[in-house]
Symmetry: C2
Subunit: 338 residues, 2 copies
């Protein structure tokens, strides 16, 4: 029999409240027979929400947590002080080995800080990157790093390239994933000091399939499986993705509603457009993994619905079944020894 | 009588050949009574193209240049070696004081290098930023810097903020333009080392209307008039703009063509959509100015048509009439003396 997979869902911090976490958990245990779920949050509320469903009571456990961490709080301080928050209680379950993975729609800063300080870095890992999946007009790409490691050094980026490759291979099923570094030109001599220093290290790394530089304009077309960059630039790319999509789609919606003829036309293109837009909805890809920890921490969008929770449960299951943590430790060790 | 304004148009390097430059020049002198134009490039070809029009022969002058600089060449080497290229011949006219401004659709790298090495920096200017106009769902923003100054220091960024403000006020007619620095959060304590160091300098600068940090997701909504960032990040933002717009519009086009019903619907929304897309066409805003030189150098898109050339001529005219060069020198001097 396969091993039991224990997953924590932090039920606080999402825009849609604890109910989408509960609904996702119920469906998650149905779809993944080895999964056991801990729901951290307000016991009374969670039990009330759970009472509306028929499910195997042995497979979903409520762990009471009385405090909440909001995005406005200083992440590191909040994680230190609020010992009884749903986030800290949940991450401690991973730290103590009671759980393999942790999912939260809460404060990004607190998730990054808590992952690093409570769960802790795996052996050999210098920094822990946050790596969201970007929808593209081709295959989805992993953007690594969008986390807290601004001004990271070349050796750190090199590790990120390896972790990202292992993730794409094991979770997204991409064989020999391509890695490209974000640059302002495609020639090897181009770039800022960090890129120029990192490029030859990546080129010499036998454990990754490095294909050189990628200009930001090529990112939306899905030119590489792993898009490597330092966290400041990674954040800018991720936010440009969101901002541009919102702006362009908003303008188009405005155009559709601008007169009677266009309103009728919009009704006729609606179903075809929906298909396209679905492609850009990453809700079936799970959340953004925080890699390199002793366990998996997944950040899902603040506005996640049960679909995102279910996908994240599946993502955690794959992560554990394929021993991605172990593979990262092995991979970095092999690189270190060369 | 107003002073004569002399503008060079480099006729090599654009995707649409010399003919759009000639057509733009013909229209440019009609619209701007004080403008005199130098066309640098192959004399025979240019004279042949000009012969198709009726125009005031005293106001358009062909200056022969036998060499061409392609985007594949190393910019600095090309500018040094190809003394008889349309780009170098044109920039020398500005250097010698025969022209006030220079417009080119050629190699960005060569324009940046030539601007700096041939035309030269104005007094007090540390670095010369390239500052394209970004279309947004609100007012257009100036993105400064997208040039060659990667890894710029805080004092350099502070100068860019001033130059960008002077440009927006004098060319785009924005009173007291707002300046925001690109960051990964809006709190003052957020950011990488460069942003953290630059932030208090901008805050203390009395010559600009600094409104704090801007996250990349807010850029497409036009939240600030001047978007300040180091050139590596600026390039990423600019290329994401292009790449995302191309990708999303491509996907939407695909959706429109996917079946008969959507094709009919597309015909009905077409005119409304065109109005929206026109907003994102910056062809009426001129090109990207390279600021802080002893003169104005304008980079227009490689695929520019005569409309862009005409807009750039107007932009150069405004620049000279409002003495933006002088204002930049004065502004930086005042800041230095404080």
């Amino acid at each position: 029999m396969d091993r039991k997979i224990n997953i924590v869902i932090d039920t606080f911090g999402g825009d849609n409240g604890a109910k989408v976490c509960v609904k996702g958990a119920i469906q998650g245990i149905k779809e993944n027979p080895n999964v056991h779920i801990f729901l951290t949050g307000k016991k009374e509320e969670l039990n009330k929400l759970l009472s509306e469903y028929e499910y195997d009571k042995d497979r979903i456990e409520v762990v009471n947590a009385t405090e909440e961490i909001s995005p406005e709080e200083h992440p590191v301080e909040a994680v230190r002080k609020k010992k009884d928050s749903s986030l800290v209680v949940g991450l401690n379950l991973v730290k103590e080995g009671k759980a393999d993975a942790f999912i939260s729609a809460g404060s990004s800063g607190a998730i990054l800080a808590g992952g690093q300080f409570i769960v802790g870095r795996a052996k050999g890992v210098k920094r822990t990157p946050l790596a969201p999946i970007l929808p593209t007009s081709g295959k989805p790409s992993l953007l690594i790093d969008c986390g807290a490691n601004v001004d990271a050094k070349p050796d750190v980026l090199n590790q990120f390239a390896e972790m990202g490759s292992i993730y794409m291979e094991n979770i997204m099923g991409v064989k020999n994933p391509t890695v490209a570094i974000v640059n302002i030109g495609t020639e090897e001599a181009k770039g800022n000091a960090l890129v120029k220093e990192t490029y030859p290290i990546l080129k010499a790394n036998k454990h990754i399939n490095f294909i050189g530089s990628i200009e930001a304009r090529e990112i939306p077309s899905g030119k590489a499986d792993v898009i490597l960059t330092e966290a400041f630039v990674g954040n800018v790319i991720l936010k440009m993705y969101e901002g541009m999509a919102k702006m362009i789609l908003g303008e188009i919606k405005g155009a559709f509603l601008s007169n009677f003829k266009s309103k009728i036309g919009a009704l006729m293109v609606k179903s075809s457009l929906k298909k396209v837009l679905k492609k850009f909805n990453a809700s079936d890809k799970g959340g953004a993994p925080l890699l390199g920890l002793n366990g998996l921490v997944v950040k899902i969008h603040g506005n996640s619905k049960e679909m995102e929770v279910i996908s994240a449960i599946k993502q955690c299951t794959k992560f554990v079944e394929n021993d991605v943590c172990g593979k990262i430790i092995e991979g970095l060790k092999a690189e270190e020894e060369e």
